[in-house]
Amino acid sequence: MAEAFLMQSQNGQNHGIFVWSVVVIVFLCILATFIFYKINIKKISKKLK
């Protein structure tokens, strides 16, 4: 678990922080966009009804 998080390379550097921060940013961006559209579609559908 710690190994997967730290991602220590053969040169001794830990690259986990870089890789996981990108994963988190991408996940949050896509999730936020998905929720934004879902909420707005629901709102406008309600108005039209």
């Binding site: 690259h15 870089f18 966009t33 998905f34």
Partner: protein, 201 residues
């Protein structure tokens, strides 16, 4: 985790599985917008300009992901998060263009005028796509040249290449879902006064 560590870059190279799909799709979305704009200007198909307006925010998000993931990758690889390099600057221009297109369209109260200006500007801005693609060939850049080309053998090992194709397909699927949602919202907004939309809702 399934692919081996890179000999030179270590584990930081794994960012490739999000950076490359994001940058590839950000440019592909702009090409799709340019095609839809041309269809609107030539044949006046309303749906195509709705698509252009729907793709723009998704394109901005994918370009943002490409820029931010590249910056984070740059810290352990280049020792800097930003360089005024041709590839990076042309991608930044693409991001600004996406934001500009959204602002331009929303600034008009007359939808017909907004649609026309948006389509023209998308076509004018499409000149940036070949510049992004060729920037690593035309100028001496910190950014590496393309590892995958149509004519040559890929510069990346197959053990790393196949998962990369998988991540591009997966990312494209996610982006397609977002474009469909965005298009649905755009159609609902623009056609809200039409009788068919009331029956649909």
């Amino acid at each position: 985790m399934l692919t081996p560590e890179d000999f030179v870059q270590g584990n930081s190279y794994r960012i490739i599985y999000l950076h490359v799909p994001a940058s590839f799709i950000s440019q592909s979305l702009y090409i799709a917008m340019a095609i839809a704009s041309a269809i609107f200007l030539i044949w006046k198909v309303k749906l195509s300009v709705y698509l252009v307006r729907s793709i723009a925010p998704i394109g901005a998000i994918t370009t943002f992901i490409a820029l931010i993931s590249g910056s984070i990758w740059g810290i352990p690889t280049w020792g800097t998060w930003w360089a005024w390099d041709a590839r990076i600057v042309s991608t930044l221009i693409l991001f600004i263009m996406y934001l500009g297109l959204i602002s331009l369209h929303d600034s008009f109260s007359n939808h017909e005028k907004a649609d026309k200006f948006l389509s023209i500007l998308v076509l004018v801005g499409s000149v940036n796509i070949p510049i992004i693609k060729m920037s690593v060939e035309w100028w001496s850049t910190l950014h590496q040249p393309a590892s995958i080309t149509i004519s040559d053998k890929p510069a990346i090992d197959l053990v790393m290449l196949y998962p990369l194709f998988g991540s591009i397909v997966g990312f494209a699927g996610l982006v397609t879902c977002l474009v469909i949602l965005s298009s649905k919202l755009q159609i609902l907004r623009r056609e809200r006064n039409k009788s068919w939309i009331k029956n649909y809702v």
